[in-house]
Amino acid sequence: MLLAGIDVGGTFTDLVLFEAETGRIAVTKVPTTANQADGVLHALSRLEVLPGQLALMAHGTTVATNTIVQRRGAKVALLATKGFRDVLEVGQTRRRVPNTMFDPTFRRPEPLAPRPLCLEVTERMRHSGAVHAAVEPGEIEELAAKLRAAQVESVAICFLHAYANDAHERQVGDVLARCLPQVFITRSAEVVPEHREYERCSTTVLNAYVSPVLARYLERLSDTLVAEDFSGPLYTMSSSGGTMTVEQASKLGVKTILSGPVGGVQATIFQASAARIPNVISYDMGGTSTDVALIHELTPALSTDNLVESYPVRTPQVDINSVGAGGGSIAWLDEANALNVGPLSAGAMPGPACYDRGGAEPTVTDANLLLGRLSADRPLAGRVQLRPQLAEAALTRLAHRMGDIPVFHLADGIVKLAVARMATATRAISVQRGYDPRDFTLVAFGGAGPMHACALASELNIPRVLVPPSPGNFSALGLLTSDVKHDYVRTRLALQRDLAPGEIERLFREIEERARAELASEGFTGQRVRLQRSLDLRYHGQAWEVSLPVAAPVPEGADLRASFDARYASIYGHHGELHEEVQLVRLRLSAYGVIDKPTLSRIAPNGTPAPLDERQVYFDGAWHTCPVYDREALGFGARFAGPGIVDEFGATTVLPPGWEALVDELGNLLLGPG
């Protein structure tokens, strides 16, 4: 049985193929094509596999994100409660774009539903769920005519207090669905039934904006595969660390915004679990950016306080911190002649100067090439022949503008600055959240991750680095290790003392019934269903909630209070006083449809690695003669001391002086200070 994980990025399409019977894994990388389905077929043919042979395909896609970044989404109308159409534009009066204080020329990004298409509906719910003003049926048909005339492709309905009672949203949605059968309609209570109207509205409008585009893409991909005899399920990675069916993803496109990056986190969890290392930080460094995420006890931190392009997204997402530092990041001088690295990237075109594709600005990759960390002989990803003289010329020009500082010193500085920026991003998800990096292992992957991992680990006192096999294609592995996941949420604002005994349990059972039905319709029943409950709670008077995972049956009374106090204290260092009442805000359920996971194969022992080659590598002001190892030839138990280089297809691992490397039986490189 063959399973395929496909990560469709902006530049490359990565394929991981897993053969269940043998545990064999095969990987390849092809350029992403305009019709992304073509690239997928191309990648399969590269590994000589026909779609008809696949039992399952899971893919990560950047369609939703690119749609937002490039503002190429559907033409969206918003239907809002009368008197509140500006909720979207005003956005709680915040700017939401970093570093905009001191900037009188800042212009807030335009809402994705333009104001003339933000229409008001006569209706009003109360926070209790009671109807304050009913919908006037005739008005909706008039609105439908208006929307038709405006050639709207997608409609977001977001009414005040719909999390408490969505009857009006349903009523209006039903009329519109009847009047406008070709138009995509999404309701806030379906997307994210939580209070705080701006965040819910923003999430719903984003969903209206991206879903039709994602649906068209998935339909095309699915049709193409079916035409080639593929008959298994096609899953799409969601932002919250599970997969979705085509049908789900087409309706809830907003949940795929992190579809690409989450694959790497899922792969990290899988690899860390197999290596029995429960606390890890995933570190994915590519050409333009670096993604880091903290995984404690094999569980990634989730966040509902997310922004995409300054628009809030309240659906849960794996808490990935992204920073504009990658191999292609450009080194430049600002007005005060201060050296900066990134966030501007040379990307794949023109690429770093050494690619010889017309790029003239020095990048992190050029610096690494000059320092001997990248091989000048071995083509990058098997194809791009690097030209050190072009890298040197670009760096020399910059060094000249800095008062002719030594060019190798500059190259070393560029790499150090990139590492410093990644360290800042990593501190934000570890130290600043109360975790000590010394308790974690850094799992490094992506084209550039293994090259900078030891430097980053040193910066943060992280004692160990794990470089998985095939780090360049590692993210795609995560697609094969993720279960189907649905996230449910139900808002119930009430003080703990006002809840009826058994009420929370009853509400959870209602949600679970719905979850089981949905999973059953997707083919998951019995042992293949896994449910995980949590409560959002706070002390009365606070603005924000803390999520508390709970088992079934849900604890009540003093037990619930004690669990919440403990959870709160673990985050804030202290808990509320006895007189501070606990307030329930909402119930959450994650429902998983469990799939069969790959089993990683063990590699053969070979404790005495023989260097393939050696080259001169610059570390901290001096050149060192470094043995160069071939990753393929390293067996279980291989052990060697730094300085050293490990070359393989798609990545280079740099082991600085004073570090040691060990290969485990899964083929992971484990690196630590000697």
Binding site: D86, T93, G413
Partner: protein, 670 residues
Amino acid sequence: MVDVDPITLELVLEGMIAVVREVRAYFWRASYSVTIYEGQDYSCALLDGNGLLVAKASEDHVLHTFPVTYTTRLIKEQYAGRIAPGDIFIHNDPYTGGTHLNDIAFIRPVFLDDTLAFFVCVRAHSEDVGGMSPGSLSGNATEIYQEGVRIPLVKLVDAGRLNDVALELLLANVRLPHRTRGDFRAQIGASELGERKVHALAAKYGRDTVLACSERLLQRSEARMRQAISAIPDGSYEYEFHLENSGGSPEPVRCRVSLIVSDDTLTVDFTGSSPFARGPTNTGPAMAPMMVFTCLKSLLDRGGLINTGAMAPVTVKLPDPCYLNAKRPTACGGMAEATFSVSTAMLGALASMLPERAVGDLKGAGNNYYIGGKDLTGEPFIFYEYPAGGTGGFNGGDGNSGCRHFLEGDFGSIQPVEVLENEFPVFMEHSILRVDSGGPGTFRGGLGLERRVMVPIEDATLSYITDKITIPPFGVVGGGSGGPNAFGVVRDGAESDPAPVPGKVTGYRLQPGDVVFSRSAGGGGYGDPLEREPQAVLRDVLYGYVSERGARDDYGVVLRDGAVAEDATRETRARLRSSRREVVLVHTDRPTDIRGRHVCYVGPQTIVALGIRPGDAIEISHYEGAPLRLWVEEGDVHPEEVAIDDRAFKVLRAQPGDRRFVQRPRRAAS
């Protein structure tokens, strides 16, 4: 000093910011007050051994961190020779560099070997510091004793030994001693962490290198600011702004500023500003320089680091007495209004200094309003907002509508409707952008926001503090004013401002069913509105930002069947242009400072023609800066003339005999 290479400099800078971020995160986690862990009303900073601000994180407020330099200077003066490792100083006294009493700074000197190398500062807004009302701030305060405990510079920890007497004395005078104690403990812990991290930084890069880097970073900001100033022609640029009243007295509070450029230095002189205000709209000596810094940074050198090196070429002169240089026992709780008066005056003066970089004026006031009472279960509640307005138009773009502006941190200033209706017994009727409230201009100001809250319960009270009600935010370079702030009550269908002096009310008793309205000001426009692209005006109308009437009257754009009527627009624009009232400016020797107001003299015919009354304000145009607003006194002046004093000529950069337009400051329709 050791030589620092440019790469090490950047790495040490990143390291210093990392120190500040870790201190921030520690304090946030360990604090006990909701204002801190929910409201993030706190800041941390790293200062050098001379007490200059070197590094802060982007989340740290300049309003909190800039004034710390006054405190560190005080430490060095008062404790010269008696500063030791393990000391912690605390301070909140506005008169010697504090903000308002609620903001308490904890400052720890950090020694590298024997050198006093840095100070780590954690400044946080305490929920209550005592005084006459819960939360300590009150619009009715007339003396600082009513606003809580004043902490002069106190060494709370002496070489590691806590001064229990000082601590208990303080805690005995606040309403939430448990939380305050918890916050203090967190501030002490955070400053210790900061010290350890600075030591680690020095161990990694070497003491001398870190010290040299700190100096270089300050020099870099200084060099950038000097370069920016030297690009400006030498001369004096002036402006003035009046807070409409103060503490129950209808007399305005004047902020008068002169920016004097000489080569690469700048003197910011507040001579001519009002003496102490009777109410709380006073600030200590740190706040006007703080706002000067923020405005200069924004208009002269937006990029680069935020550190006080940029202030080296700038001298700020505060007169004495002055509401910006408060002395015992004036109240200082209205710091926001006092500080924003400085920003308005600064933006006006900067507009004539750099017309191409000018930006329309902002809402000004803090706009705080409170509805308090008891909910249905008898529990007391306070509903509190401070709605943002529109931001100013600028050369190249329109302002933002209902948005925090560039001199403020990025916080939500209104509550989610779904939160407030769950938490408080109130009902939000609507929350909409105010049509036509953006100052007209080639580039339009952003729109203000209108909210209407119905209060169904008995015995609720309303308080608010706002300003710019009668004199709206100005436009620049020929742009029009934004709609003014307006707060009040709708009762039986009629609107009123129940305040004894406009915009300031404390504890007004509401009747069940009263609707409280808040209207925040729109931003001022940039450039002549008759020059705005007609297509942009059409879009504004389609988007509902401008009414069809506004398009015709303010922009001279006539629309027909959803399109611009070209001929009618041309004619309307020509007619509007020729109907502007142009006058000749003449000099007057008569008194021009009457009851705190800066006045001009106008003939009776002109008063009639402008549709105003004596005592109203008029606006005299300044197409290469900001218009001047003066109060009108009737005088024996030729109908074609307006008589103004020397100061007014300076603000307008005009000579007697020059011709300018006059008009009433525009009021928004809704």
